[in-house]
Symmetry: C2
């Protein structure tokens, strides 16, 4: 089976690594000849809107999927006209626009923080409920393209400061913690949901995932599974998607979806019976989904910027190193470490976090 | 880190797949442009005794290792003169000669079936103890290059039938079962031994590994760990090696060693904290060894000849498919399936075995 992936970063790299044992070979399209999926896939170097590159990707693939939610709409359509494409471009359009996303939650009866669209500085000035988070409707990630406004003074010039593009204001929620749920939906509509996990961010970037999240009641799990299932069904989704949530007391509020394999699901490589990468491949290729159950508890620590010394990481029992083959750069995700095994999991995770500069 | 591998088959392929997350990139040398490690490594197409190819492999590598025990001695020496090589060529020389191997066991006080060298038909005719297994001293694998002689009539012409090469006769042991132990030894001499596993062969080819083997007493485990540890120390071994054993009552008899990652260790990819492939990389590259403990029970079924339909395999809960990207051919190992999870492990393994044509 031949899978095409638009984008050749670490997500494509881990998809390609998961593909080889299944007899799935990947071709990735990326503008950079250094794309880190290159060593494990066939790399087509082309811009994401390059017609010739897109046509070559389609010709080299039985199915095409995406590594990120923001491919040019025309590119997704061109691919979909030539080859089977999963998830559907419509799902990407919803996920890449925070307003459409929030309206989807609302339509499905999924609790979400209050929100309103802001299309001008005048509308920003008219904002009544503070504090609020102002976010660009499109192209934000890892905390980029957003600001917190706690008083009216901070609203001045905010529209221009965020790029003069359509915004959304979201109620700033005092949440207890951030959770996420990753699920796969097959071509036959069946869904396999991983356990809820707890995520810790710093500077808008995910630092730590604890899987499964502790203290999850069956009611909480049901809320999360129901929400991600409704969203996947509504979008006629095929593949892996992630839903980020805030926990407030015994309620979950939907924050955003990611229509792809997700950083908060990297723990599944060692920590679940079937990894999110394998389940994404299974889903988009029309194969039976694999068991998403956790194999005990584990933790995932992101490596940001400079990587720690390999021997220091590997000296920690149960530490599984995943380097992405990317050049180090401040704030850049260049790998992750998953720590498995229940005995002294917290201490060993703390050692890895310290090595990762998160001490 | 850059690892060179002499040989580009499935063992090199699984080493290369294990390498990417550690930041280890592999270059493999293989005579075939179709070598199945090619898609996950840099492939040098050259004969194993091609000086130019060997020099290019050495130049592309920080450390060179081997996928098989029979590289030409001159090739191993040429590599060792140019680059760090693990395991040491001397260990390969011992492992590729059944007589040297048996004498090593004897010297270390490791119980092994009775044996004697046979260098001519006259010596074959003089064999007194029957039944016996006659094996070529060198180049046998997967049951090739051997015959069982139960009566004197079968000895006639045996020397020529086995190729007219030096032979070894081994006592035919009535064993209870076949076990093996895989261990890694680091550059610092530390050893990490995986649990004993039980192996079932048919037509001389491994079909099923149950890991860990059931009913293993602490005494049995000690015998196995002691034997593999003594052998590794004596050979000044660095890397993963396997020791195949016969269990007779409460005793273990050493059958043979394999100076490489081993088919009976494939279960470690999902079934152990650290896979044998990662531990071989860690050992030869001078990194700390990883935990060899099992993560519950599992079973590994080899796929021989025609592969079963992928969707049938993946429909079995907890089945992990590993295809090697090799063309199907009768008797050829083209993949394996590891079944994890304790619940109904035997039934699920039986389903996979049936799909593999082992029903």
């Amino acid at each position: 089976m031949r899978l095409g992936v638009l984008g050749g970063g670490q997500l494509a790299r881990m998809l390609a690594i998961a593909g080889h044992p299944l007899g799935v070979t990947c071709t990735v399209l990326d503008p950079s000849p250094e794309a880190c999926a290159g060593p494990v896939a066939s790399l087509l170097v082309a811009a994401y809107d390059d017609s010739d590159g897109l046509d070559r990707l389609a010709a080299a693939s039985d199915v095409v999927t995406f590594e990120f939610e923001n491919p040019p709409a025309a590119s997704a359509q061109r691919l979909a006209a030539a080859v089977e494409v999963h998830p559907p471009p419509g799902a990407l359009e919803t996920a890449q626009d925070r307003l459409l996303e929030k309206r989807l939650f609302e339509r499905l009866g999924i609790p979400t923080p209050g929100f309103r669209a802001l299309d001008s500085q005048a509308e920003v000035d008219g904002l009544e409920q503070l504090p609020a988070v102002l976010k660009t409707r499109r192209m934000g990630y890892d905390g980029k393209g957003q600001m917190v406004a706690r008083d009216r003074g901070q609203l001045a010039g905010a529209f221009a400061a965020l790029g003069g593009v359509p915004l959304i204001a979201e109620q700033l929620v005092e949440f207890d913690r951030e959770l996420s749920i990753v699920a796969a939906r097959g071509r036959d509509g069946r869904t396999a949901a991983y356990p809820l996990v707890e995520n810790s961010h710093r500077d808008g970037i995910l630092r730590l995932t604890q899987a499964p999240a502790g203290g999850v009641t069956s009611d909480l799990r049901r809320q999360a599974e129901r929400a991600v299932g409704l969203i996947a069904d509504q979008l006629d989704y095929v593949g892996v998607l992630a839903l980020e949530l805030f926990q407030v007391g015994d309620r979950l509020l939907a924050n955003e979806i990611a229509p792809r394999v997700h950083n908060s699901g990297h723990w599944t490589i060692e920590g679940a019976v079937t990894s999110q990468f394998e389940n994404h491949l299974r889903a988009v290729l029309g194969l039976p989904l694999g068991d998403p159950a956790a194999r005990g508890r584990c933790a995932m620590v992101n490596l940001i910027g400079e990587p720690p010394a390999t021997e220091s990481v590997l000296a920690v029992p149960g530490a599984h190193l995943h380097l992405y083959g990317k050049a180090a750069r401040p704030g850049r995700k260049i790998g992750h470490v998953t720590v498995t095994g229940e005995a002294s999991l917290e201490q060993r995770t703390a050692r890895i976090a310290a090595l990762a500069g998160e001490g």
